[in-house]
Amino acid sequence: MPTISISKAQSEYDVIIVGSGAGGGQMAYTLTLAGIKCLMLEAGRSYDVAKETPMFQTGKDAPLGGSSTPDKNFGFFDATIDGGWQVPDEPYTQASDKAEEQFKWWRARMMGGRTNHWGRISLRNGPYDFKPYSRDGLGFDWPISYDDLEPYYTKVEKLIGVYGSNEGMENTPDSPAGVLQPPPKGRVGDLMIQKHGKKLGVPVIPIHRAVLTQPQDGKKLAPELHPDNPEAQKIVEESMSSRAACFWATDCGRGCSIRANYQSTTVHLPPALATGNLDIIPNAHVREVIVGKDGKAKGVLFIDKTTGKEERVKGKAVVLAASSGETVRILLNSASGDSIANSSGLVGKYIMDTVGSDMLGQIPAMENLPAHNDDGAGGCHFYSPWWLYKEQKAGKLDFARGYHIEISGTRSMPKGNSPVPSHFFKGLYGTKLKEAARRYYGSFVHLACRGEMIPNEGSFAELDSEVKDKWGIPVMKWHWKWSDHELNMSAHAQKTFAGIFEAAGGKGLYDPKRDPRKAILRGGEVIHEVGGALMGADAKKSVCNEWNQTWDIKNLLLCDASPFASNSDKNPTETIMALAWRAADRLIEESRKGNL
């Protein structure tokens, strides 16, 4: 990916964008195609997807067969570079030494950030999800409605390519006709859970994921996305035509050298660079936003990690899209640590993750199945959208919000670990062991609850008053708390999963009645870190307005998930992109009026 060093930077840009992931990538894409000059700062190194992605490597090729280590937390082939639960030189701290009160912070210091390895699950928030407070009196409403964001969900889906189906289910929006790519066929685990979940009233339908199942029709899509902009159409059409459809092999988490799935580095950044309006400086560790005496953002101060020197770049507007935690950190460290955009006192408050609570089950009917290629789209094909809205409304459940279920079979490539839990062949060796491995392989299904966490006073981040990173910048200190809503949701999910496995004639491998505090994943572990600079309708009670602009500094925009006023069960990435595109359109409009 072409990048520049600070010595080649222009003296001033229209917009400085901090971060190159879903939000930063979308901003760069939309702004540069409209002729706006942007400088992007990425804290990690550049990354060449075509050359660096381990597309067909097997366990034979990798140290430890590719299994996870403290260096590569999700396995050797995970696309994350210079990242994980810990990043050298950049510590973070916890306010509590109790595990359930801690937040695990996944960071990726690389071009494209966490979009390189993410699950590609691309769900729209539904109408309820923008007005949760109005529905049940908990949390906060967004200052926008589904109708405000709907056109941008559609644009994003056309641009990145999302497979799925329209099922017309409650608070689970359909996309307009012709927008979604066809969903892939169900795999054996998907179809089993679909068939047997029905007995419990659990619906199972195709999920939406950012993977091309057919070549993208750039000729049709580019003019739809960029009417009246022939140059943008040409660039986008060319980019779309150079992407291939999925060939049903290799995990999406490795990244995709044929660009069949979405990652910022393959979908957002190439067309943005093709405009000639984007410069990117890698290894740029941002310390603060520079604010002028007039109260406007003037640029950004960063550490060039290649030299260790402080550098300054100027822009007429500044976009922070560094991840919720990092964006909050930059805001708090700005004004020499006095913080900016914080007249509400709410910067860092109400950080949310997704409720995770999972179970592995074994289904005897699936033993000894005929060998077949089950790789599929490199991620989920089917899921269960939340199905108990009516029961919840009637007060029949002891938690207020919903969860969806992500389904994963286990006929995948063995990579360093035993492909069957070893207690299934305990005491066996020789041909009998091989027969047991063959028998049980693929007979397990994993069900994952991914649910809505309600923002609470006990989950927030602040600057640590003592600990600093390698460059002397104060680090984040995390506070975490689950409420009974999340714990009860986890217990409900465990019970549901055990019931589904039983309905399929199998058994969950964990006790569904175990302490929900143990069954729930740790805060941050689902890597859906959102909030910390919430958007709202009232400047006193929120950090951003509906256009992702901070109330205090109008030319400072937050375009990652930090402005999320709630964290529905729908995975956040598509909403990050839709909000960013909407914010970018607004910025373009202001720019044309001469207000930039």
Binding site: S67, L360, G427
Partner: protein, 225 residues
């Protein structure tokens, strides 16, 4: 897996087992969670005390290893088996995964080298397994000398089988060794057929889905047309 959360209750071994399943699975989110669990269980930094127990290399491959290449066992940190340990591991691995109609012998796919690389790795989980494997290989030979006056590798087939039958009753070392050998064995594409894994090949057009015989066996109907 994150289960992880749950599996923490069940002790480390169960935990690792669960982690294994997930590792295979692609579904990003859950895989993430599983690995997360593993990472949590393993701890994030390498404790100095553990590092010192690894004789040679004590640094890992770091957070930015070249991924798109094929590594040799021993390329990223030195292998540490002594000749005696390697000899015993080779012989034992071939008893656990012998050549038969289902697939090759462990020695043909270098299972012992994989286990050597594993127990030589400077990471907490692997260092934990090292504590079972290195003394276990020694005790294996000691027990065989007491019983048969020979090291394991020198035993004839019935004697090896007798030794394995004894360990299979509940020897911790044997169970850990078998689990590592299974991870090693099935990581090699030559052993995928024995397992029933048939992927990692590009397929053109739409995803075909499970074959009819699989659907029929389970009484399933494909619902995406």
């Amino acid at each position: 897996m994150p289960l992880i959360g749950s599996s923490k209750n069940h002790g480390k071994e169960t935990f690792n087992m669960n982690a294994q399943d997930q590792e295979n699975r692609l579904p990003r989110r859950r895989v993430l969670q599983w690995f997360a669990a593993v990472a949590a269980a393993e701890g994030i930094a390498l404790p100095a005390a553990l590092a010192q127990t690894t004789k040679p290399g004590s640094t890992g491959y770091g957070q930015d290893p070249v991924m798109a290449k094929s590594y040799e066992r021993g390329e990223v940190w030195p292998l540490t088996f002594t000749k005696v340990e390697k000899t015993a591991a080779l012989a034992l691995a071939d008893m656990i995964f012998p050549k038969d109609d289902m697939g090759p012998a462990a020695s043909e796919v270098r299972v012992a080298d994989f286990i050597d690389e594993w127990v030589s790795a400077p990471y907490p989980r692997q260092q934990g397994d090292r504590k079972a494997i290195i003394p276990g290989l020694k005790v294996l030979d000691e027990d065989c000398r007491k019983r048969f006056q020979k090291n394991f590798v020198e035993l004839n087939e019935p004697q090896k089988k007798a030794a394995c039958d004894e360990m299979a009753k509940g020897n911790h070392f044997f169970h850990v060794f078998t689990a590592l050998a299974a991870g090693a064995y099935y990581s090699d594409p030559r052993c995928w057929k024995a397992l029933g894994y048939a992927g990692n090949i590009p397929v053109g057009g739409a995803f075909p889905g499970p074959p009819k015989e699989v659907l029929d066996q389970l009484g399933l109907v494909q619902t995406v047309l």
